[in-house]
Chain length 341, copies 4
C-alpha cells in the first residue's frame, strides 16, 4: 500500500546507511569522543559558516527539545512557543517533566509573530504581579513549523531581536530544517540561521538519517557541562560514532540539502494536483507537509489505497489530513497518489 | 491610609490568635500528631458532615495546590484548569516544577464549563496521537474563582460528573471558600462540597487564620504515604499544633462562616455604591472580591486615599482594579471607601 | 508528663508571640514587602555585621534546605553532606524531588572533615569518567549538627576554603544556630558565620518562633529572581509580616541568643547529672541535644515519666535516645528529669 | 592500535547491521507500532518462555534505567542499589533528575546481599521517623554487575523474595545480560530471569546492536500509559522499527547468546594468561570485563600498544584498569594482547 503517512518510515538514505556500514570496519571510542564525530562536526560548522559553533549530536526530536530547552532556560522561567508548537502539544509533557512551563502565543499558520512576542513580554513585565508568574525564558520556534510553513529571514531576525531584548535565547527546532531551507521561495540559508539563532538543530531523523539531530550552539553559549546534562537526561548515546558517521555522510557533497529538495519537489507536484482538482489546502505551505481538509467519504476512499496522517478534526464532517513526502518519495509514488486524488 | 488591597493583610482574627496564645500553655508533639490537631480535624469532619474525611493541614495556597495536584495526578497526566486559574497564572510554575503540565480551558467569568471540559476530554481521546500528549489527569477549579464568582451546586455536580467519567478526581481550591459559601445567593454548603469534590481545601490564610489551609480528602482517596509526600515537597510544618489551634478556633461556633459573611456584607455594600455611582463592574460576582474597570484619572485620584489591587490592563486607557474586603473589614472602612468613590 | 522530646513542642517564646499579637493592630502588604519585615532584616544584617547581606524569611527547615540547595546548585551537580546530614536522611527526598543528588561523606560525630571534602573533590576530578557523574556543586553542613556537635571557627573556615577551591558555595543550616552559637566553648559568632559561609540560615522554629527561618546570603549571591523561585517551590508565605514580626522580636535586645543560651545551660546540667550517674553519652556535644545510649529496661522505666526522642538502634539491646532541651525548658523540669535518671 | 577499552566501540554485529539494511527496503509505521517490532517482541517472549511478557525497546542503558526506575517507583520512594551500582555512580544523576533518591547498600564484588537488603528494610520500617525518610521503593541490580561478576539463580531468587516482602519490584539491568547468561559457571537462564525479576532488560548496545535495550515486564506490571511516559522522558524513538530489526536479528538462531559467548571465551583466555603471568585480578569474575590492579610502569608500558579502560585509583601507586572483550573480539586480538602482557 502507498504511504504518505510521515517522513520517518524508512530506515535511512542509502548513502547514510552505507556510511554506517563502512564505520563498522573500525573501532571508535565512546560517547562522541571519536574522530568521525569530530569530522562531522567540522563539516557542519563549515556548512553553517560558523567556525566557532559548538555541535552536539542527540538521538531524537523530543529528546533534543527537552535537553536544549531545559538547559538554556533559567529555573524560574518557561519557554515561549506558539500554541501549535510541538513541545506544547506532542511531547507528552517532556518540558514540564523537566520543570518548565510552556508559555503560549497564538500561531499564524503555525508561526509566531514577533510583535505578539514583544507584546507578551511587555505585558508580562508591566504586570504588578510578575514575580509570582513564570518568566519568559527562551523562545522556541520550528523551521519548518508544525503546519509545514516557513519563516522568512526577516521574520526570524525580528523574533531574535525581540527575544534578545528580553534576555532570551532564540532556539530553532530544525527537525525538518532540510525541507525548510530547500523549499521554493525560502530566503533563509544555513549560515543565516546560524547567525540569527542562538541555538538550533539540524534534523536527521526526518531527513535521511536512521536517527539523530545535530544541535548547534552558535554564540559560545553551550550550557556548562553540557555532556553531563545530556547524560542526566538519559540522552547520551554510547556509540556516538554512529551519529557521527551519519552526519558526516549527510554533510558530504550537500547530500542533506539534495535529498531534502527532492521531498519538496514531490510535495509541490502534489500540491499542484490538489489545487487543480479543487481540494482545499488547510495551510499555504511550501515544504514536505501538505495539510488538506477532507470530508469523510474522501478520507474513506483514499484510505483504501494510501496511508495519510491524521492531524485534527476540522468540524463535524471534515478532518485535516496530512500528506507527507520525504527524501525517499519517488516520482512513481507521487504519480500513483495524484491518480488517486 | 485606607486599604482594600487584599484579604491577607492582617495577622489573624482575634479569636484565632487567642487560641494560638492559649496553646502556648501546653506541650505538643510535632508534625500534626497532637491532640489539638486531632480535635480540629474532628470539627472539620463534622462541619463537612463527612465522618470518613481525611483532613490535613498545610501552610499556604500555592503550596497546597502543588502538593495536592502533584500527588493526585498520574505521572503521564496534567491538571485541567481554566486559563485564569491560579496554578496557571500566579504560582510561578509550581505545578510544572513538580512535573505536570497545566492544561487549560477558556474561563467564563473565571469559571469552567462542564460541557467544555467534556468536549476537551472527548477531543483528547479521539485524537489519533493522544498517547503522545499529556493526559487530562485531574480537574482543578476554585470556589470562589479568581474573579470572585462562584459555582452553583449544579455546576459543581456537572463538573464532577464529567471529571469522573474520564477517571479524574475533582479538586476544589477553597482558598476563599468561606467567602464563597456565605455569599448572597450561594446554594452550596460545606457538606455539599464534601459530597461532590474528591478533594478540596478550606482556606484559612484569607479567612481569619495567620496561615493555613485544611485539605479534605472525602472519598478514602488520600494519596499513599501523604505525610511523606508533604515532607518531600518541603511543606510539613514542625509545629502542626499551631495549625490545629487555629482551625479548632475557626470551626468552633461557626466562626469561620460568621467572619466570612462579614466580608461579603461589606462587599455587597460597596458593590451597591459602585453601581449607584455608575462604575463599571468587570464581573458580576457575589463574594469579597470586586473587580472594577477604571480609567487612569480615577485610579490616580483613589490612589491618594486607598490602596486597591492591580489586576490587569483592560485597554490602553483602562485598568481592572480589585477592591477586596475581608473578615477584618469594618463598617467604618466601608463608609470611608464609599465616600471616596 | 515531662517531655524532653524535642525543641519545637511549644508555640513560641512569649515575647515573640506578643510581637505577633501586636502586629495585628496594623495592616501590612503581602509576601514580605512590608516595613516590619524590612526592619527585621535590618536587625539581622546588623547582628551579622554584614550590611550587604540579603535576608529572606521562609517557613520551615526542610523547605529552606530544599529551596536554598536547589537554587544555589547547578543542574549538573549535587550537594555534598555527611551521611548523617538532615537532607540525606530526614527530608523524605526533598532534595532529590528538586532534581539533585545528595553526595555523602562520612561524618565524625555529625561533622564533615575538610580534608575528606578535599579528597572527595580531588578524586572526583581525577576520575577519567567524571563527566558521567554528578558534580559536587555545593557544600551543606549544619551548625549545630544532627548530633548536637558544633564546628569551630577554624573548622568552618577550612570547609569554606575547600568548597571555594572547587567553586562551591558553603551553605550552613542553622535550624539550631542559636544553640550552637551560645554553647559553652563555642568560638564562633554570627558575624564570623556571615563572613565564612556563602549562605546560612538562622533557625526560628526551634529557637522561640512559631515557625520561620531567616536565610542570609552574605556575598551578593542571592539566586536570580529568588522570590519567584521561592514561590515556585510553594514556599512563599502570604503574610510575610508574621515572619517579620517574629524575627524583629528575636533580634531585639539579643532575645534570640538569650533564650538559646537557656537551653544550653539546662542541657549542661543534665549532661553533668548523666555523667555523674554513669550514663553513656553517645556523643560529646555542648548544645541542647543530648544523645544517650540506653538499655531497654532504662528506656522503659523513663518512658513512664518523661518523653524522650528515638534516634536509632545502637545494637540488639541498646538504643540511642535523645534528650532535647529548648528555650522553654525550666529549671523545674530539669530538676524533675535529673531526679528520674 | 589494539583496543580492549570497552564493548561498545564497534557499530554492530554484521548480521544485525544486515537486518537494518534489509529493513530499508520497506516502509514502516512509527514509534514501534510496526510488524517488525512486533515480531522481535514475539521472539523475545519466546526466548524468555514468558508468553505474557510485555516488551519495549529503548535506546540506551542510562535512559532505560531512568525510565524504568522512575515509572515503577512510587513518588515517595527511592531505588535501592549497591554503592557501585551504575545509577548511583555513572548516570550523572539521571535518577535524581526524575525525582527519586538512590538508596545504597554496600556491594560485595559489585553484588547486593539479600540479607543486607532485608536488614536495610527492617531497619527502615523499625525507625520511629521513617515517614520522614525516603521509602525503599524498588530494587535495582545489574547482571552482570559493574565489576563483571554475576548473581546465581539462588541469589537472585533471594533478592526477589526480600524485595517482594517489602512490596518492591525487582529490576535487573541487563546491559550486559548476554555476557552474564553465557558465562562459564552461570546457572541462570533467560526464562529463569523472566520468572524471578519483575522487570529486566536485555542489553543490545553492548552485545551486538548499534544501540537498543529490550525492556521486559514479566508480570502484567507495565506502568500505565508506558508509551506516553517513555515519550515524556524524551526516550521514544521515531523509527522504532530500527530497534525491531536489530532485536529480531539478535533473537534469530540464538545470535544474541552466540556472540556473547564469544566475548566470554576471549575473556577466559585473557584471565588465564594474566594469572599465569602473576597479574593481580581485582575481582574474580567470569564475564567479559576483567579488572586488574596495575602499577604505573605497567600501565605506561601497555598504553603504548593497547587501549584499556580506567576504573579507579587503587592506591597511590596502583590503578584498577579494565580489559573489556566484546562480541567483536577476535582470537588474533586476544593473542596480541596476551603477548603484550
Amino acid at each position: 500500500m502507498l504511504s504518505f503517512e510521515n517522513d520517518y518510515s524508512r530506515v535511512a538514505h542509502p548513502a547514510v546507511l552505507d556510511a554506517v556500514v563502512r564505520a563498522n570496519e573500525h573501532l571508535y571510542s565512546g560517547y562522541g569522543s571519536d574522530e568521525l564525530t569530530a569530522q562531522a562536526k567540522d563539516k557542519i560548522r563549515e556548512a553553517c559558516d560558523c567556525p566557532d559553533a559548538d555541535v552536539w549530536f542527540l538521538v531524537g526530536g523530543t529528546q533534543t527539545n527537552q535537553v536544549v530547552i531545559d538547559t538554556i532556560t533559567p529555573a524560574y522561567a518557561g519557554v515561549v512557543t506558539v500554541t501549535s508548537g510541538h513541545p506544547n502539544v506532542h511531547e507528552a509533557g517532556a518540558i514540564e517533566f523537566s520543570g518548565h512551563k510552556v508559555l503560549t502565543l497564538p500561531h499564524h499558520n503555525g508561526k509566531m509573530d514577533a510583535n505578539e512576542l514583544d507584546e507578551f513580554c511587555k505585558t508580562f513585565y508591566a504586570d504588578g504581579n510578575y514575580e509570582h508568574m513564570v518568566f519568559p525564558g527562551c523562545v522556541y520556534v520550528s523551521q519548518s513549523t508544525e503546519y509545514g510553513t516557513i519563516y522568512t529571514k526577516a521574520e526570524l531576525e525580528a523574533l531574535a531581536k525581540v527575544a534578545h531584548q528580553y534576555d532570551m535565547p532564540l532556539f530553532v527546532d530544525g527537525a525538518r530544517l532540510g525541507y525548510a531551507l530547500t523549499a521554493t521561495g525560502s530566503d533563509l540559508t544555513l549560515p543565516d540561521l546560524a547567525r540569527i539563532a542562538d541555538v538550533f538543530y539540524i534534523g536527521g531523523t526526518k531527513v535521511g538519517a536512521l536517527f539523530g539531530e545535530a544541535v548547534v550552539f552558535t554564540k559560545h553559549n553551550t550550557p556548562k557541562h553540557f555532556l553531563t546534562q545530556i547524560k542526566q537526561h538519559g540522552a547520551l548515546l554510547a556509540k556516538g560514532f554512529v551519529l557521527g558517521a551519519q552526519f558526516d555522510a549527510l554533510f558530504t557533497d550537500d547530500l542533506y540539502f539534495n535529498i531534502a529538495r527532492n521531498a519538496n519537489i514531490a510535495a509541490d507536484r502534489i500540491r499542484e494536483a490538489l489545487k487543480s482538482k479543487g481540494y482545499q489546502l488547510t495551510f499555504e505551505a511550501p515544504t514536505n507537509q501538505i495539510f488538506v481538509t477532507l470530508d469523510q467519504p474522501t478520507i474513506d476512499r483514499l484510505a483504501q489505497h494510501v496511508k495519510l496522517g491524521f492531524t485534527e478534526k476540522a468540524d463535524d464532517t471534515h478532518t485535516v489530513m496530512r500528506i507527507c513526502t520525504s527524501w525517499a518519495t519517488t516520482d512513481e509514488e507521487v504519480n500513483q497518489l495524484i491518480e488517486l486524488l
